[in-house]
């Protein structure tokens, strides 16, 4: 409840500031913009099922510009997907809908400096099993939070080379995800009170956490048509009710705390009708959470189970087709490669027993995609991709680690 009160307070401040800024404005008004991306898709897993589905997103921003140059930015985003069947190899969701709302206020402090504050919220509906209904998805979640962004509109000659810093705080809760111990507490109290005592009321809501993120972004021009961008993100998550296990399997007294660091960089260069790009990134997730699996003879205790790192690289080439140039039809081919390692997670044999080596995953992909705008606001798009995942973890009873996924999709994008 306190969180909601704080959010309400933030919203009131934003609206008040907006109203004051608007009072003396001679030039103001709504500037609605909209983007939509609607696609149908067919996905096939080699030696597995072929599924059809649809994905779509709609972004709406009825901005309100003030004469002072400031802007009120209410943003609504719908992001949804629907597949006719869960394919555990690659696609978990039969249905997922994310509704996100942001109400921001952007103020310009001068020619080269701007700032934005925003209150944000989101609710995600998921449906994974045939018995879940729209509101009761186990992995439904809701976010409440806020963000502050400061941008330095730096320029390199006449080209923008902005620097920005963003700080976000949020509270994520999974309203339908409660531990089985919590759901069955009444039953356990009657049948096994010792268990209730041992669990001690902990881990009732083990998925909920509070998060914070800090992001730094910078753009630099390396030549007339060579643009580089780099960003660093660090996120921290403090779980409200989740506790690592001890090396004997007991619930410890520490709470789970994770950190994720991401460093990414990209460069793109234009050569006539072509743009050649290269993205690269590295990611490190640190976690103090551990698991204990008494079924394992060896390595029953795995500290830092959720700790992992990854590096990725993705070259791409985009071709502006030499037809109807004004509309910019184009095709892009990109290739991706990623290696992910788990320094504390042992690989498993096909029966699930932990072996001595550590789990290592590889992902490779090829993606071909094209856009053909009919008019400025409407484009047709179609694409196909192949993704190959490989892992030295051979335990695949519930989750495929080694598979080939083929996806073809087509649809339209709308920009208004």
């Amino acid at each position: 409840m306190r969180t909601y009160r704080r959010l309400t307070g933030v919203l009131l401040v934003i609206l008040t500031v907006a109203a004051e800024g608007d009072a003396g404005a001679a030039e103001k008004g709504f500037v609605p913009v909209l983007q939509a991306d609607l696609r149908g898709a067919v996905a096939a897993v080699r030696h597995g099922k072929t599924t059809g589905g649809a994905v779509g997103s709609v972004l709406v921003l009825p901005a309100y510009r003030l004469a002072s140059g400031d802007t009120i930015l209410p943003i609504y985003i719908f992001d949804g997907s629907l597949y006719d069947k869960v394919v555990e190899e690659a696609i978990f969701y039969q249905m997922k809908q994310v509704h996100a709302l942001s109400l921001g206020y952007k103020h310009r402090f001068g020619a080269a400096l701007s700032g934005k504050v925003a209150a944000e919220g989101a609710y995600a509906f998921t449906r994974e099993s045939r018995n879940e209904n729209f509101r009761k998805g186990l992995y439904n979640y809701r976010d409440v939070g806020g963000r502050a962004v400061v941008s330095l509109d730096r320029r390199d000659g006449d080209r923008p080379a902005p620097l920005s810093v963003s700080l976000r705080g949020y509270d994520r809760r999974y309203p339908n995800y409660a531990s089985l111990a919590a759901r069955g507490q009444a039953l356990l109290e009657k049948t096994n009170p010792a268990a209730v005592t041992a669990i001690a009321g902990r881990e009732k809501k083990p998925k909920d956490y509070q998060g914070a993120e800090l992001s730094l972004d910078a753009v630099q021009w390396l030549g007339e048509k060579i643009r580089a961008q780099a960003s660093y993100d660090v996120g921290a998550r403090r779980y409200r009710d989740r506790y690592p296990r001890t090396d004997q399997g007991l619930i410890s007294d520490r709470k789970r705390f994770d950190q994720m660091h991401r460093l990414s960089a990209g460069v793109a260069a234009g050569f006539g009708d072509f743009v050649i790009g290269l993205d690269a990134g590295g990611l490190l997730n640190l976690s103090n959470d551990s698991i204990y699996d008494p079924a394992q003879v060896l390595h029953a205790f795995l500290p830092h189970y959720f700790q992992f790192w990854s590096v990725s690289v993705s070259p791409s080439i985009l071709w502006a087709l030499p037809v109807a140039r004004a509309l910019k039809p184009r095709v892009r081919l990109s290739v991706g490669g990623l290696v992910r390692g788990y320094p504390y997670r042992f690989r498993q044999d096909s029966g699930g027993a932990y072996l001595d080596g550590k789990q290592r995953d590889q992902e490779m992909s090829v993606d071909l995609r094209g856009w053909y705008p009919f008019v400025k606001w409407l484009s047709a798009t179609a694409g196909m991709s192949v993704r190959v995942d490989r892992s030295n973890n051979k335990f695949e009873q519930f989750l495929k680690n080694n598979y080939e996924l083929f996806v073809v999709n087509a649809g339209v994008t709308i920009t208004y």
């Binding site: 500037v31 913009v33 972004l59 930015l73 943003i75 992001d79 921001g104 989101a122 099993s129 018995n131 992995y139 941008s151 000659g157 006449d158 080209r159 923008p160 531990s179 759901r183 069955g184 356990l188 268990a195 753009v219 048509k225 060579i226 961008q229 960003s231 993100d233 004997q248 990209g266 460069v267 234009g270 009708d273 743009v275 790009g277 993205d279 990134g281 997730n285 699996d293 008494p294 079924a295 394992q296 992992f308 990725s312 993705s314 140039r325 004004a326 910019k328 290739v335 991706g336 992910r340 027993a353 992909s365 993606d367 008019v375 400025k376 798009t381 009873q397 989750l399 996806v407 994008t413």
Partner: protein
């Protein structure tokens, strides 16, 4: 229809200063040296973003670029050496946006007008009036971008007197030649269009990349924005560099992508839940959740609790399985489960008396209605036997039996038997075999004792059996032969075997790697959970040796329960699709793998199921590697599944 007027002279365009104080536009973007002055003699000031512009204001790009935003969102972009004057919004009978291009080039991105309003760019030579298009005007000629809407996007090129000189369509250019003749509309040179993009574009704010399907939460930076800036943008995704609302699109994209890291993190969590078997789906699409806890119930008893929740099907609800293992002495509080794990990798060493051994194993299974099945097994202390000839302990005896069990929901079943065995014989480990379903009452058949070895028969190790019953098992209908074993239940020394808890390699001269006998892990239980509901109907008698009626048999029975909990036709057994023995060199044991083919009326499909039985009893490869397998003609008889 959008109309653009380009007047060839300034005559006839009288100015009105009536609204001099009202801002008509503002500087929306600026880079480099751009001056703004009021009128021809006003003091110039550096343009800044947000600077309001009124009638008679002049904007001069001395060394940069500037973008002016008019009411209703129209944009004018000027590049170096261009200058422009803001004019009154009413000119004679017309109203709208009126500007005068004093020098250089201007690019106009004109939003759609309503009524008779016009957007006019006037020069010394021409005027353009537009109702919404994208054009480049250098004072003499105009070029119109092709936006795929010829009806709306034409530009009228007019003389100063208002005479129509040319109607310029999309993708066309027209203007005045230096000799004053008219260059009629014709397709625009692509170089000119490219110049519009290159000279007048302002790259949108940085955004994430969309390249590839592989990545870590949108990992990758700058490609998308760089593509736009480099001239081959992303208009199809609404991030067109020339779009007058590019900053707003960028705001949306930023917000949409702001959850990339969080979503990627949650995705990894979700996959971990699957990999661990914590939250999975069974083959019917029902959700299955698993949780597991273990703790010290007392100083010498460990309790393992597995909770299972299914959100649909005949076994929907919360069920639980509890196992209490009681040892002969107090367990070290900081290593209590190491002792238990040590049991599974302990091998008999008759020269050393055990330190830890189980004295009781209590297990209960609770269904979703709170009913419980229980079994309670008591184990004696090991008794050593001194061998006089060798002057060493040659072995010992060990007995176990069941004190009582409730083996059916609501049923009482008393079973009391003590089995005593000389535990110096390695292969003669007795075992308790129980199969549990997914903790589902509907699948439980009750006790199903196997016929004991008949007196005088030769058991599977070729050792003459006496009349003492040597084996029994409790058969709860389950799926893939998940066996629950009681291996040697003692440890040899306080260090949990002479080498401690081994990480790998050899214990007591034998391989230490292997599957856990103690199948209470989430993984094991979840393995049952994914199979249940399908492979739960068959009745099969497995003969140890079909040629000999005296050999023991194994009967596995099950039945189908529909969504209403009623037993249904058990289906049609189509036969064995194959079977074979598999020697596991790591474990030093023989596994039996049987592949059944079934028609399952529950799902109406025919499917194959593997029944993999890991006896975990044959530890001596020299015994089992040779010869045909159990149940095969000529194979060793006995309960060797």
């Amino acid at each position: 229809m959008r109309t653009c007027l380009v007047l060839l002279a300034m005559a006839g365009m009288g100015s009105s200063w009536a609204a001099a104080a009202a801002p008509l536009a503002e500087v929306s973007r600026v880079s480099g040296l751009v001056r703004v002055s009021h009128g021809a003699r006003g003091a110039p000031a550096q343009a800044t973003a947000g600077m309001p512009l009124v009638e008679a204001d002049r904007v001069a790009c001395l060394g940069g670029k500037v973008e002016l935003r008019f009411t209703d969102g129209h944009l004018l972009r000027l590049v170096e050496n261009a200058s422009l004057e803001i004019m009154a919004p009413v000119q004679g009978k017309k109203k709208g946006v009126f500007t005068r291009l004093l020098a250089g080039k201007v690019r106009a991105l004109v939003a759609k007008f309503s009524g008779n309003e016009v957007f006019v760019i006037q020069s010394s030579y021409a005027v353009a009036s537009v109702k919404g298009t994208d054009l480049l005007f250098d004072g003499r000629s105009a070029t119109v971008r092709d936006e795929g809407d010829a009806m709306e996007h034409s530009v009228e090129l007019l003389s100063p007197q208002g005479r129509l000189l040319a109607l310029i369509g999309e993708g066309e250019t027209a203007g005045l030649r230096p000799d004053g003749s008219i260059d009629q509309p014709h397709p625009a040179d692509s170089a000119v269009l490219e110049e519009m993009e290159r000279q007048f574009d302002v790259a949108p704010p940085a955004g994430g990349t969309t390249s590839g399907t592989t990545g870590e939460g949108g990992q990758g930076a700058g490609t998308k924005a760089a593509e736009a800036a480099a001239g081959a943008g992303e208009s199809g995704e609404g991030e067109s560099a020339e779009d007058e609302n590019a900053d707003l699109y960028a705001e949306m994209s930023d917000f949409a992508s702001s959850d990339e890291l969080v979503n990627y993190y949650d995705w990894m969590e979700r996959t971990s839940d699957l990999q661990l078997g914590k939250v999975i789906l069974d083959r019917h699409g029902n959700r299955v959740e698993m949780e597991q806890y273990n703790y010290l119930l007392s100083t010498n008893t460990i309790e393992y609790l597995v909770l299972n929740f299914r959100d649909g099907g005949p076994s929907a609800g919360l069920t639980a399985m509890t196992t209490d293992l009681t040892f002969n002495t107090d367990l070290p509080a900081d290593r209590f489960d190491d002792v238990r794990r040590g049991l599974s990798i302990s091998f008999r060493d008759t020269s050393v008396y055990p330190v830890y051994w189980l004295t009781q194993e209590y297990r209960s299974i609770m269904n979703q209605d709170g009913e419980q099945l229980t079994e309670d097994v008591y184990l004696s202390d090991p008794v050593e036997i001194w061998s006089a000839p060798t002057r060493a302990f040659s072995g010992g005896t060990w007995s176990y039996g069941m004190g009582g069990a409730q083996v059916g929901w609501g049923q009482a079943f008393e079973y009391a038997r003590t089995i005593t065995e000389n535990w110096s014989y390695l292969p003669l480990e007795h075992y308790l075999v129980t199969e549990y379903g997914d903790l589902n009452a509907g699948w439980y058949l009750g006790a199903n004792p196997v016929p004991d070895y008949p007196a005088g028969c030769v058991n599977f190790q070729g050792i003459p059996n006496d009349a003492t019953p040597t084996a029994w098992f409790l058969n709860g209908a389950t799926t893939s032969g998940n066996m629950w074993w009681m291996p040697p239940m003692y440890l040899h020394d306080p260090d949990f075997n002479s080498t401690g808890i081994p990480e790998d390699g050899v214990v007591d001269g034998r391989p230490a790697l292997g599957n856990a006998w103690f199948g209470l892990g989430v993984r094991e239980t979840a393995a049952l959970a994914t199979d249940v509901g399908t492979f739960r109907t068959f009745e099969r008698t497995w003969y140890g040796d079909p040629a000999s009626p005296d050999t023991p048999t194994l009967t596995i029975s099950s039945f189908i329960v529909d969504d209403n909990g009623n037993e249904q036709d058990p289906g049609v057994y189509l036969g064995s699709a194959g079977s074979g023995w598999e020697w596991d060199s790591l474990l030093g044991q023989m596994n039996l793998e049987v592949e059944y083919e079934w028609f399952d009326p529950y799902v109406g499909v025919t499917w194959l199921a593997d029944l993999l039985v890991e006896p975990n009893m044959f530890r001596d490869s020299s015994v089992m590697q040779a010869g045909p397998g159990f149940g095969e003609p000529g194979g060793a008889p006995g309960l060797g599944f």
